[in-house]
């Protein structure tokens, strides 16, 4: 029975997966609507592109960051809003027609707890109850929301059963276009790409509800906004991704797409210093080297929770805040991945804090 329920929900994971892995899409949407394609040399315009892009198949706003309570205790957090299109007949005039879904994931990493606390939600867009608006960042999912104010700051609130986050994120730097002017390739095929920009070094302040207490927190966060219709090569098995707010004001983002046998299909890294000077690394210059693995007692998946990342000649070492930052939602939406706060070292020196995401390490994701 549990298994049955798992089956119905798993399709949400599939939507996400389909968004990242191209292979099921053609199958699913054989007769479905055509989506807009991501093309090079497109100039992102703002605030227009802060908003949603419903013509594309998948889109997300992804905030990760480190918080500190008034007692100087570190906490990691993640808030993600996905906007997948479903392929439902676009001619359906019903307000209930599930053409767009809004999916929210939120997680809190507290070393004192020792494992990830998370919640998620899904709803069809409509009736003003759930939406991702065009024009500027404005995403709502019942009482969860993520909004950009005209002054450039973001407000987000997530109230789950076990915890709550109510945060304001203020930009301290200009936005960072990933790839070539926001055109971010995900594989050897030029069509495997997304539009992608980041907002590193967001100043976070707000309150969180955690273990029955309301705590005032401060910290730093990283926002990604990415949209695409076809992201990954069919040979892709998963990816490793990291974003780091470096203490000197620099910002680093790197990822690799893994094929079968953990072979690197594609990789990317961009480093921007406090002055805005950017270095873009070619795929062969970027390498993810596992240092220590951790086997999840929940899913039996083995994650390389400690990594070395080489960008050309520089080597970064990632140490997790704690090991068990696996998000295991097989009982509901079915998504399983590792999403954790990491401390970043260079030459054995702590240089910054970031978030590491490891996907595709669980058998069942291989649908």
């Amino acid at each position: 029975m549990q298994n049955d329920r798992y089956k119905q929900y798993i399709f949400i994971a599939l939507i996400l997966l389909a968004a990242w892995l191209a292979f099921p899409v053609s199958q699913l949407l054989a007769e479905g609507p055509r989506y807009k394609q991501v093309v090079p040399h497109y100039d992102l315009t703002f605030p227009q592109d802060y908003g949603a892009h419903p013509d594309f198949r998948i889109e997300w706003w992804y905030v990760t960051g480190w918080l500190e309570t008034s007692e100087k205790k570190p906490l990691g957090f993640q808030i993600t809003f996905f906007r997948p299109s479903t392929g439902h007949n676009p001619e359906n005039p019903s307000q209930f027609a599930p053409k767009q879904l809004i999916i929210g994931h939120a997680a809190l990493s507290d070393p004192a707890v020792g494992r990830l606390i998370y919640d998620e939600k899904t709803a069809r867009a409509g009736f003003g109850l759930a939406y991702a608006r065009e024009g500027d960042t404005d995403v709502k999912l019942d009482d969860w929301y993520f909004v950009r104010s005209p002054d450039g700051s973001y407000t987000t609130e997530v109230q789950a059963d076990k915890f709550g986050l109510h945060l304001t994120l203020k930009p301290s730097q200009s936005l960072m276009l990933q790839g070539k002017k926001g055109f971010s390739r995900k594989g050897p095929d030029i069509e495997q790409a997304s539009y992608y920009y980041s907002k590193p070094h967001l100043q976070v302040s707000g309150i969180i509800r955690h273990q029955g207490q309301t705590l005032t927190v401060k910290g730093h966060a990283w926002l990604d906004h990415e949209w695409s219709s076809e992201l990954l090569d069919s040979r892709a098995d998963g990816w490793d991704w990291v974003s780091v707010n470096l203490d000197d004001g620099s910002a680093l983002m790197a990822f690799q797409i893994r094929g079968k046998n953990d072979k690197k299909l594609w990789a990317y890294a961009k480093l921007r210093d406090a002055n805005g000077h950017e270095i873009l690394f070619a795929p062969e210059q970027v390498e993810f080297i596992p240092v220590r693995t951790w086997q999840s007692p929940h899913t039996n998946a083995t994650y390389p929770v400690e990594m070395r990342i080489r960008t050309d000649k520089t080597e970064w070492r990632l140490m997790p805040l704690f090991d068990d930052q696996e998000l295991d939602s097989r009982s509901s939406t079915g998504a399983v991945y590792w999403e954790g706060a990491v401390t970043v070292f260079r030459d054995e020196q702590k240089v910054g804090r970031g978030y590491l995401e490891l996907t595709g390490y669980v058998e069942s994701l291989d649908l």
Partner: protein, 853 residues
Amino acid sequence: MKAASLTTWLLLSEWRARFVQLIVAVMAIALGVALGFSIHLINTAAFNEFSAASKSLSGQSDLQVYGTRGLFDESLYPRLAQYEGVKLANPVLEFTAIVPDKLESRNNHKLRILGIDMFRAANMSPDLLGVPAEDKLMDGLADDAIFLSPAAKEWLQVRQGDILRLNVGMQSIALRVAGGLTRARAGQRVAIMDIGAAQWHFQYLGLLSRIELKLDAGVRHAIFKEKLQKELGAQFFVAEIVDQEARVANMSRAYRVNLNMLALVALFTGAFLVFSTQALSVIRRRSQFALLRVLGFTQRQLLRQMVMEGFVLGAIGSLAGLAVGYSFAALAIKLLGGDLGSGFFPGIQPSLYLSPIAALVYFFVGLGVTLLGSILPVLEAVRARPAVVLKPGSQDSAMERLSTPWPAMICLSAGILSTQLPPIHELPVFGYLAIALLLIGGISLMPRFAVWAFSFWMRIVNGFISRGRLNAVSLMIFARLANAPNQASIALSGVLASFSLMVAMAIMVLSFRVSVDNWLEYVLPADLYVRAADSGNQGGFQSVEQQIMTALPGFARIDFFRVQQLVLDPNRPEITLFARPIDNANPGNTLPLIGEMMEQTQWPKDSRPLWVSEAMVDLYGYTVGKQVMIPIGNMLREFTVVGIWRDYGRQFGAVQMQLSDYQMLSNDLSINTVALWLQSQTTMTDAYATLQQLPFSDALEITQSQAIRAKSLEIFDRSFAVTYLLEVIAVVIGLLGVAASFSAQTLARKNEFGMLRHIGVTRRQILAMLAAEGTLLTLLGVAIGFMLGWAISLILIFIVNPQSFHWTMQLHMPWSWLILIAGILLVSASMTALTAGRRAVSANVIRAVKEDW
């Protein structure tokens, strides 16, 4: 200690002596308990399953919001979703769609479909989610996918991947069977679709059936409910799950209670049988008791012995009854379904649940009834003075106490009084009480009737004796019947009870059937009825189709009907609204009106006329002349009740209004049904051909009123099948009782037969005497049973039915059936008497003259 073992010893020896009678008495109790218990089990199972099935469709919500007119605008959904205190709002669109392949089975051609938002439903009713194929996981949101419960798949004979065709208005749409449900109850026939897809394909755009609410922790349901109800106004009602249960319970309660009552009646018959068996046994053992009293047994010891006998009999009978009842229920559910074929609990497949409490209750009812039946005759036996008892002929005086007329008269009067009392909780409790009292009173008066009837005969016989024209056998027959009435009537009490109940049921069922038949003729005056599937909350025929229909050649008259379901009271099932052309001057031409009515000239000018069914009067107090508010369109509108019509179709109520009034108030110009009258030269074949040529003929459901009538009567007969079964069982019990009594009496009279054989009465004469006695007794029993049955049928027809089902009917007598049954009863009673009599002519009766008792 010694007294106790003596008691046991006496008991066992007595039982050995009359093993067969005891077996019959135990069987009677067992049958009564079995019937009652199995009906209880079946009803409970069906009701629980029906309730659980309804509940599984409505999920685990705290509150549910419905529109009084059925569907309502979806704009309420975001409002409720964001309402203070609401944790989760789950919108549901529930409807039925016509399955074109199933059109030939008229009352069973609709598929119940729930349009859900799976993301909302997941937290409210997780069982109702579709399970798509492994490689088509997006089907849960697909616009062409439908998920079917196993029972629905089986019924429709489709498998995953097949195409299912359904009618919507004048169109047919094709959906893909995308999979099953997470969990559907066995037999539950239901389909799930995405709510957006359902709104679109079935033309319910912008409409919902209900919104289920889960409240934040700490919110007081009652206060919240009241506040929300106030805010939403009369167009909506807010119900809790318990309200819904009450609704479901209300729907079938009358049926269930009446069936249980019938089962109790069977048990009641069993009690009479126990009474007659025990009474005869007591009479037979009077001298034994007297001897025991002489030997030093106290009255209490004797009483205890007899009570113990009754207790053991009752316990064995009740236990056997529970076992048989359970098996019978299991079998009946398997063969007939949970509603025993009556159609009250459609689309479910219940499973039995053995509740220990119910079993205990039925056990004790059986036991209690047996004790009652055995204690009454014992009381006299115990009180009797031994000296009197030891005299011959005292056997008959044994029952004199019971034949005092006063208790019987009090029973009868109380019974008659009960018929004047109102129902309790809409159940005819006093009606059934009246039936019981009439039976008890009537049967207790049986000895008196016997004395009157046979004394009259005896006088005639005496005349013959003096003229020397009478033979000894006739003398003995009539003398015995006239002068020993108590024993005779005791023998008959069981069969009298069952026969009168059978007569009552037969009269009631026929009256009902004839009334229904007449009514059908009245309410189906047209030759043909054409229906189309609703599209959304619109009837299937829009103005265009209506015009095309009106222009059809070959028809003398065409009427349009708009039929809808309304909720007036959230605690009650929906009522039906008919809007149709009604002849204001002579509404009786269109409607089967009964009772008082308002002439057109008396109608208030500012109000519109409304004709209501009898149930509306009972349930909602819609009496003639009353101003009532009916939700039409999106508003409550005022109508005046101007007449009452008889309706056997909808026991929860129905109202009729002018189609023009309805259309003016609602702006809904669509209709669902077209009634067609053929011109005299048009044949039915021509009419069908004309209709088949319509561009939308595929979407039409064409029925001849003859077919509807036949089908309705078939359903009627099926739903009464179980009552026929009960009747037959009651009569069989009664006949067993007669057999038991006769054989007991034969045994008791064996020294009489011995003496008669001595003085030269032949075997054949003794057999003839016994057969004649049995026949005459039965004849009297049939006559009295007929009178009692007739009286009971009046209660059933004029009290029980109107109070339970809110309809009245006219009395019709099933003469041929009654005569047949009386004949069968007479013949079988004589045969029984003859069979019992074989012992009376056996060789050992000759020796019986030597015995003292």
